[in-house]
């Protein structure tokens, strides 16, 4: 406990020093700027957007879009990946298509999806889901291929049917990898969500940053920026804790 406190104290040293230095610099130079803000001004701006409710609404919008996109993208991608991992034929048939689609940057889909679906949560969710689809396919496919061949033989000897083989052998075997896939996806989903909001969608935290910038309110812009960082950190903290709780061996980086 004390050791944990000591390490977290050490980890906090650099940010604290930077913030204090920034505040000192801002005070000494009597900062008046359209692009920078002092830490105290940022804190004040944070509380003002917190009080008027805009921050919470924007956070909820972004988190909901990221969450839905994550569930749909990782869910569909993992399902496809599992099937491709199990059925060589399907993989042979789709491999080229996937390799062609995979390198398309998800940001490039923004205009296309926007034209199809217009603004709003739906369009953002679809873009996030599409961005997570291929990485999830590849991770799930690899995980299925790495299932202990001996276990597949055991299921063959026991004459397990396809549904039983999937639910009793394959899924439990790849569950830790699927969770890791979800953990990576969550961080990526936030990135894509904010990107979509900054470039197109009048909605969420990314839009909040854009508006603050265009209104020349740097303190509010930085408040949004830091808040996005905090949210990303909290999400990964929660997922890390869940991973330690449910897949302790995997969280330590051990193979089962």
């Amino acid at each position: 406990m004390r050791a944990a406190f000591r390490t977290s104290w050490r980890a906090a040293l650099l940010p604290v020093v930077v913030i204090v230095a920034a505040q000192v610099a801002a005070t000494v130079t009597q900062l008046e700027s359209d692009s920078l803000a002092s830490p105290l001004a940022i804190v004040a701006a944070f509380f003002s957007v917190l009080k008027d409710g805009s921050l919470m609404r924007a956070s909820l919008d972004t988190l909901m879009a990221a969450f839905c996109g994550c569930v749909i993208g990782v869910g569909a991608g993992s399902l496809l990946g599992i099937l491709l991992g199990l059925f060589r034929l399907a993989d042979d048939a789709l491999d080229l298509t996937i390799e062609l689609l995979r390198p398309v940057p998800v940001v490039a889909l923004i205009p296309v999806v926007m034209m199809l679906l217009g603004f709003g949560a739906r369009m953002e969710i679809v873009i996030i889901a599409l961005g997570l689809l291929w990485p999830s396919v590849v991770l799930a496919r690899t995980a299925v291929r790495e299932v202990e061949p001996r276990l597949m033989e055991v299921s063959a000897v026991l004459q397990l049917g396809f549904p039983a083989r999937l639910s009793k052998i394959v899924l439990p075997a790849i569950l830790p990898q699927l969770f890791m896939s979800l953990k990576l996806a969550a961080g990526y989903a936030l990135v894509v969500a904010v990107t979509v909001e900054i470039t197109a969608n009048p909605f969420g935290l990314g839009y909040g940053i854009m508006m603050a910038q265009q209104a020349l309110r740097p303190a509010e812009m930085f408040a949004y920026l830091i808040w996005i960082g905090v949210i990303g950190w909290l999400v990964s903290l929660v997922l890390m804790a869940a991973q330690r709780r449910f897949f302790p061996a995997f969280a330590k980086g051990e193979t089962r």
């Binding site: 202990e148 001996r150 276990l151 033989e153 055991v154 063959a156 000897v157 026991l158 004459q159 397990l160 039983a164 009793k168 052998i169 439990p172 075997a173 569950l175 089962r256």
Partner: protein, 275 residues
């Protein structure tokens, strides 16, 4: 004293020998070959195995012992010839043929407890959920894991894990029990204990056993018959009957002159193959 024992043993040989070569074989291996491309692994093996018989397979490495066993399990298809179970051709894995793999650590589900691992075989044969617990308890008791039902494989020793794999195979209620060097990775004491347990399980269930090993003494101790395979390609070099009394005993059986004679005979056979 020793004469009396000899006589008793001789009597038991008559009584206990379940092998009647005239009976319909449980397994008939008919001129089986297996090739990967140009490489022939198995080159024409024919063996009949009687119900309840215990056949041990020995031979130098690369002689196709494991491949032969995998064909009996339906995990490998013969290139030509056929494996028959009770008179009908084996087209693939069959639940009445169980196989115990050597690498128990890989063959058990690490996310299931001992009870859960045994349960898998019951689930596979459609045993209703409420009938499973008593069967699982009985099987774990029988194999000496009664107190470890809630342990995960990672919490068990190698010997316990191999016991668990055997329990899962027994849950299949197999007619044929295939064993692929199951005790090769275990220490000597554990190995002897498990040999005796396997013998008594085979005797009580009446299962036919095919046991692959590279340990000549293990083959003699467990077998009613021993087949020596020769390599390149794998084929039957010699078939040896084991005329030792049942039930076998780790001390008495291993000191039996017949045991020593067989060991010498098999040793010479294997040694010739290695030259």
């Amino acid at each position: 004293m020793s004469m009396t024992r000899m006589n008793v043993q001789a009597g038991q040989v008559e009584m206990a020998s379940p092998v009647s070569h005239a009976a319909e074989p449980r397994i008939r291996i008919r001129d089986v070959t297996l090739s990967y491309g140009a490489l022939q692994i198995i080159g024409g093996i024919s063996i009949d195995i009687a119900p309840g018989e215990s056949l041990c397979v020995i031979g130098p490495s690369g002689c196709g012992k494991t491949t032969l066993l995998r064909m009996l399990a339906g995990l490998a298809r013969p290139t030509s010839g056929a494996v028959e179970l009770d008179g009908s051709a084996l087209g693939g894995p069959d639940r009445s043929v169980a196989i115990v793999f050597q690498d128990y650590g890989k063959a058990l589900l690490p996310w299931r407890t001992a009870a859960g691992n045994v349960s898998l075989a019951l689930e596979a044969r459609g045993c209703p959920a409420r009938e499973r617990p008593p069967i699982i308890r009985e099987l774990l008791e029988k194999i000496g894991l009664g107190r470890h039902a809630d342990k995960y494989p990672s919490e068990m020793s190698g010997g316990m894990q191999q016991r668990l794999q055997i329990a899962r195979c027994l849950a299949q209620e197999p007619k044929v029990l295939l064993m692929d060097e199951p005790f090769g990775a275990l220490d000597a004491m554990t190995r002897q204990a498990l040999q005796d347990e396997v013998l008594s399980l085979v005797a009580t269930t009446g299962a036919t056993m095919v046991f692959v090993t590279h340990d000549l003494e293990e083959a003699i101790y467990l077998g009613d018959r021993i087949v020596c395979l020769q390599p390149n390609p794998g084929r039957v070099g010699r078939m040896v009957d084991v005329r030792l009394a049942h039930p076998r005993d780790q001390l008495v059986t291993r000191e039996d002159p017949e045991f020593l004679r067989l060991r010498r005979e098999l040793y010479d056979l294997i040694k010739d193959d290695h030259q």
